[in-house]
């Protein structure tokens, strides 16, 4: 098959494949809002929105799970359904009344702990991240526009390990950027090679280099910022724990971006070895 022949064949496939009805914008907005709240610490307000997403929660993480665990996933109904939450029509094309996008496989085990030991680990991670912010930056607290927190932490079930995320908005005069630290417990399925690991963080991709710090090899990947992050470093401990540290000159808020990232590549790499970021399972 030659290139032009293949190009024509692709167009034929699309023009002759019966297409489902358009996807619903309102559903897309709903999923976006839900995802925002998953990444934002929910304070006690009367504005909590019931999470109706179909979330797959492994049975062992329910309230009746391992004794002494104490973590109560803030998740939807438990189910062992396949990644796509609703049944696949036999014809392979969603019926007209069944075109609401299902919560995709990312939701498999994507429950967050809102209390218990794991919640506390996420909270402590945030406190530890604040300690490494250079003194020249401010670290606002509370909420900004769109009801989004300037700082947040989260403990979430991945596949199959728990992960802990802490994000801090840093400011310098009117500009604002962000620092993220995400830790994955052992048993994760993340890449082993340093650059593959670094580039896997939030699908950042980018151009990667291996930086050596204290004899350890750490992947540091740099993007043009198009993926929403400027740079990420990643390190895998011998016990399998993975620590990601990422920096972004811009923030989620309507403020100018920082003139430069807060850390050099070497400094960012070194942060992956901060002892307090090595969360034990």
């Amino acid at each position: 098959m030659e290139e032009n022949e293949f190009r024509d064949a692709l167009r034929t496939v699309l023009t002759q494949s019966p297409e489902p009805p358009p996807m619903e914008s309102s559903a897309a907005v709903s999923y976006g809002r839900r995802a925002t709240r998953r990444r934002t610490v929910l304070t006690c307000t009367g504005a909590v929105i019931a999470l109706a997403a179909v979330t797959i929660v492994p049975a062992r993480y329910l309230a009746t799970g391992p004794a002494g665990d104490g973590d109560i996933p803030a998740a939807g109904p438990a189910t062992t359904a396949p990644p796509s939450a609703h049944a696949m029509p036999s014809d392979g094309v969603p019926a007209p009344d069944d075109t609401k996008p299902s919560w995709p496989a990312e939701a498999s085990g994507d429950a967050t702990a809102d209390t218990g030991p794991r919640y506390q680990k996420g909270k402590k991670l945030l406190a530890d991240v604040l300690k490494v912010v250079p003194d020249r930056y401010g670290t606002p607290t509370g909420k900004g526009p769109d009801d989004m927190d300037y700082q947040w932490h989260q403990a979430a079930i991945e596949n199959p390990e728990w992960s802990y995320l802490a994000s801090v908005t840093i400011t310098e005069e009117s500009a604002a950027g962000q620092i993220h630290v995400e830790v994955h417990e052992p048993d994760n399925q993340l890449p082993a090679e340093p650059c593959a690991l670094a580039r896997s963080f939030w699908e950042i991709g980018g151009q990667c280099q291996v930086v050596e710090v204290d004899g350890q090899k750490i992947g540091v990947t740099t993007t043009t910022g198009a993926a929403g992050l400027d740079q990420a470093a990643a390190y895998r401990y011998a016990d399998g724990t993975v620590v990601f540290v990422a920096q972004d000159r811009s923030s989620n808020f309507e403020r100018p971006a920082l003139a430069e990232v807060p850390f050099t590549a070497q400094q960012l790499a070194a942060l992956t070895l901060v002892k307090s970021f090595h969360i034990r399972a």
Binding site: M1, E3, F6, R7, L10, R11, T12, V13, L14, T15, Q16, S17, P18, E19, P20, P22, M23, S25, S26, A27, A28, V29, Y31, G32, R33, A35, T36, R39, P83, S84, P89, D91, G92, V93, P94, P96, T99, P101, S102, W103, P104, A105, E106, D146, N159, Q189, P191, R199, S200, E203, G205, G206, T223, A226, A227, G228, S250, S251, N252, F253
Partner: protein, 165 residues
């Protein structure tokens, strides 16, 4: 709905169809294509405050979608599924050989995800080699070799003799 949500919804309404078509070629299945599009736009929503003023959102969204697709560690089930030859609700266009369409989709499913992404970006999206490399975060040389390998796989799969019954 806030102004932000309205702007996001407007962009979704305008572009999700096109993105879904690309996702269909990647996934070989409308259902999974919709899941991929939904995941992509959810990620976009999380970044909306920063990216909405970009001159063109399409390249960014396309990059997110392609990289999400390639991330097989979390989407390994893409590879287990194959387009299947079943009846459909809506009739195909007249004169359209369903078998040919499915042959191509099945052949694409045999191409490794990253090579498949290169093929779709180069020959469906008509991106240049440089643009494709930027989307994938790789080099132009890698794009060229993966395109060549992808086409070779298609030729091998499509050209494979049918075993005698």
């Amino acid at each position: 709905m806030s102004d932000r949500d309205e702007a996001f919804a407007e962009y979704f309404a305008a572009r999700s169809g096109s993105m879904r078509a690309t996702a269909y070629l990647l996934c070989g299945d409308w259902h999974r294509a919709q899941d991929l599009v939904q995941t992509t736009f959810t990620k976009l929503y999380l970044k909306w405050g920063k990216v909405q003023r970009q001159e063109s959102l399409d390249p960014y969204v396309r990059q997110v979608m392609i990289r999400t697709f390639i991330d097989e560690g979390r989407w390994g089930w893409w590879r287990r599924e194959r387009p299947h030859d079943t009846t459909i609700d809506r009739p195909a266009a007249p004169g359209a050989p369903i078998e040919d369409r499915l042959v191509l989709l099945r052949a694409l499913a045999e191409v490794p995800p990253r090579q498949r992404a290169v093929l779709v970006l180069r020959y469906w999206q008509d991106l240049s080699i440089e643009e494709t490399a930027a989307v994938l975060g790789t080099t132009t040389g890698t794009v060229k070799s993966q395109a060549a390998r992808g086409l070779a796989t298609l030729r091998a799969v499509i050209g494979a003799p049918v075993p005698a019954e």
